[in-house]
Symmetry: none
Subunit: 412 residues, 2 copies
């Protein structure tokens, strides 16, 4: 079974909204074992929509449209569907009843006249109740193909799809033969090209199981996707390649799926019953923010100081003014003193100090924007790393906080 | 001029990522007066991508692809472009030099062999430097049509498009008779229904100029969109409705377009030469992070303390242990003492204290998840606000930091 999605709406083509429906539907279809080959977005233009529908009918078995089911004249999906499959619109009393009920629930005694338009559906089509709006889901059987029209707002599309379309597709035996399952292996500490070199031969295994590389700022994800006849086979396929990846990337792997560097570091701190305190300069609170995004972080995170001014560094963290004068606020020496200073101040097991230049201003020839020193102090001693990051102010802050978390994880 | 966008990537068709590039490019093209008629997404499949490119060439003047420019064998955009316009790939020394420099900046002495693949471009194509990555932007002239290939990661796509493609399109006279211009008026302090009530009559003016309401956590944006024959008319259309909105919403408006609450507050602090220090508990560094996202914030932001443990609150900010015991760490009294404590400690003009329960655990019947106290201290005295937020841990942190910025702005 091959499917494709057609999103209808000039507002999408103008960039006024980000289309999240397609990502949602894509994931759902993969889960049902239905292959998705195309997404297309067209504006509120009947000839272009009809042409797109006809192209879709020529190459796919299931065509899903989203949007354009509202009560206004701009809403052209159903009339275009009629054009593509050569049918007329008929008035459906059951839908009118649902719409009237909807308005009654909303506290409106009388249904607006426009709303009645939404009770018109292509002759012979099935319709599926919309529990949170007035536009029902529509399904047309056309030869061996089916066309499905869903309302555009995500809060309406999701319940119509889940309560109406999914049970229909399952009952009628669409998809089902194959399921697609994915698992993401998350790494940090290597750049994309290095990870690529290590797993290169695994990237073109296909077709049942594939591996993809996805890069974020300072992180590289490996996504395993498998197509299998059942859950068990899918899990076995994934486990096989995951074992191989783990053998090669070892401790560069910090988690899977929804795990983050901050949750991995937090988990390790909690497990070893270690406490943490941090002193940030250029990351400006971002590192503390990421650490405290983890529920339960109050167990191991004692305090953070955002020492933006030199005075905060000296009078607060005990970094000697002379040291700052001699080496500059952005230096190995100051990073180390910040780490030790906050560790002593908070009586924590581990202290982190971060100082650098996030830009866009403040850089010099010797100390360019993107230069960041990250220091760690614990009972065993101290260490410091010099990093060079590229990007805008927020990119540099993010990469610096990621590098600090990578370093932290490596010593717990 | 008719344009269309083709997004390349199986990960999009599997729903693994939400495609934000198309919304960004759509908006940019509208601003250039270039009509966009289609978005299409195809997987990493050369025959399907070539077929899509050929269909696009048959109906559009400007074709923009996103994604599939990486160094791996999965990256098929350039070879497919070559297939669609019947050209070969050639090695471009200038790109190799840029890539080598990129890796040098990243601290890698040697460029990985695979990375060299990204220096291969279609014969006769132009290329545009990628300031934050290794895949350059590519532009092919094909008869009277042009094909543009952009890297997939938004943080690379945006600078390549803005620094390379936009100047090229403008210089070469692409762009159309009509331009579409938008301006966003940003408000905070009112909920959507309140804003809606105030501007309701302006929402259905159309068709040349329209107004839309967009809601974020703790903020409501009003987006003015106008279609006009020239910049001047567009500006006049926008100014007319903006005046009306400003008359009605007054100080609830904190900025326009890319301005944020943190930039507005920072601007006000700098103008009044006031300094700020903050003590955060439940926001965990997010408030400091937002404030320090603004370039130049070191002028007014002296320091922040993330006082996560009670000990940090007492021994550091001078909040009496008795006070915490009597009222609890989440209380008006403690918030006020945190604000005064950090103000005294940092010798700043203004101090902020935030304490609350971000959840998901830690709530009680009397003090539920989402309860947050925000206090301010300055030369004139102190104030405190009790807030109740709904959402997950990060939503609550975000709303609390937004409310703190709204309060800060109101007293500067």
């Amino acid at each position: 079974m091959r499917a494709e999605i057609i999103s209808v709406g000039t507002e999408i083509l103008l960039g006024h909204i980000v289309n999240t429906n397609t990502a949602y539907l894509s994931k759902k279809l993969a889960g049902l074992g239905i292959d998705l080959f195309y997404h297309t977005t067209v504006g509120d233009n009947p000839p272009r929509l009809i042409a797109t529908l006809k192209a879709a009918l020529s190459r796919s078995d299931i065509i899903i449209t989203t949007g354009g089911l509202g009560p206004t004249v701009d809403d052209i999906t159903l009339s275009s569907l009629c054009g593509a499959v050569d049918r007329g619109l008929v008035f459906e009393k059951g839908i009118e009843k649902d719409i009237a009920q909807y308005f009654k629930n909303q506290g409106l005694r009388k249904m607006p006249d426009d709303a009645k338009r939404q009770a018109l559906i292509p002759r012979g089509a099935l319709w599926f109740k919309n529990p949170v709006g007035t536009a029902p889901g529509i399904l047309i059987k056309h030869g061996r193909k089916i066309l499905i029209a869903l309302p555009g707002p995500p809060r309406e599309l999701v319940p119509v799809f889940e309560t109406g379309i999914v049970p229909y597709l399952s009952k009628k035996g669409y998809g089902g033969e194959w399921i697609i399952k994915t698992k993401t292996i998350r790494t940090a500490g290597l750049v994309e090209a290095e990870v690529n070199k290590i797993v290169k031969d695994l990237l073109s295994m296909g077709p049942a199981t594939t591996l993809g590389i996805y890069v974020h700022l300072g992180q590289v994800d490996l996504k395993i996707t498998t197509k299998a006849q059942d859950e068990k086979t899918a899990d076995r396929n994934i486990a096989k390649i995951e074992r191989e990846i783990r053998k090669r990337l070892k401790t560069y792997i910090f988690g899977v799926d929804h795990e983050t560097l901050e949750s991995a570091a937090g988990y390790a701190l909690a497990a070893k019953r270690k406490t943490l305190a941090i002193a940030e300069s250029c990351t400006g609170g971002l590192l503390a923010n990421r650490i405290t995004n983890i529920s339960g972080s109050s167990k191991y995170f004692l305090m953070g100081v955002v020492a933006y001014s030199n005075k905060a560094k000296t009078s607060f963290l005990g970094v000697p003014g002379k040291l700052i004068k001699k080496h500059g606020a952005v230096s190995k020496e100051v990073a180390l003193d910040m780490a030790t200073g906050i560790k002593n101040l908070a009586h924590s097991d581990i202290g982190i100090g971060v100082t650098g230049i996030a830009g866009p201003s403040g850089g010099t020839g010797k100390k360019p924007v993107g230069l960041v020193y990250i220091a760690l102090a614990d009972a065993r001693g101290t260490m410091v790393r010099e990093c060079h990051f590229i990007g805008n102010r927020q990119d540099i802050k993010h990469q610096a906080s990621t590098a600090a978390l990578v370093l932290l994880r490596s010593i717990i």
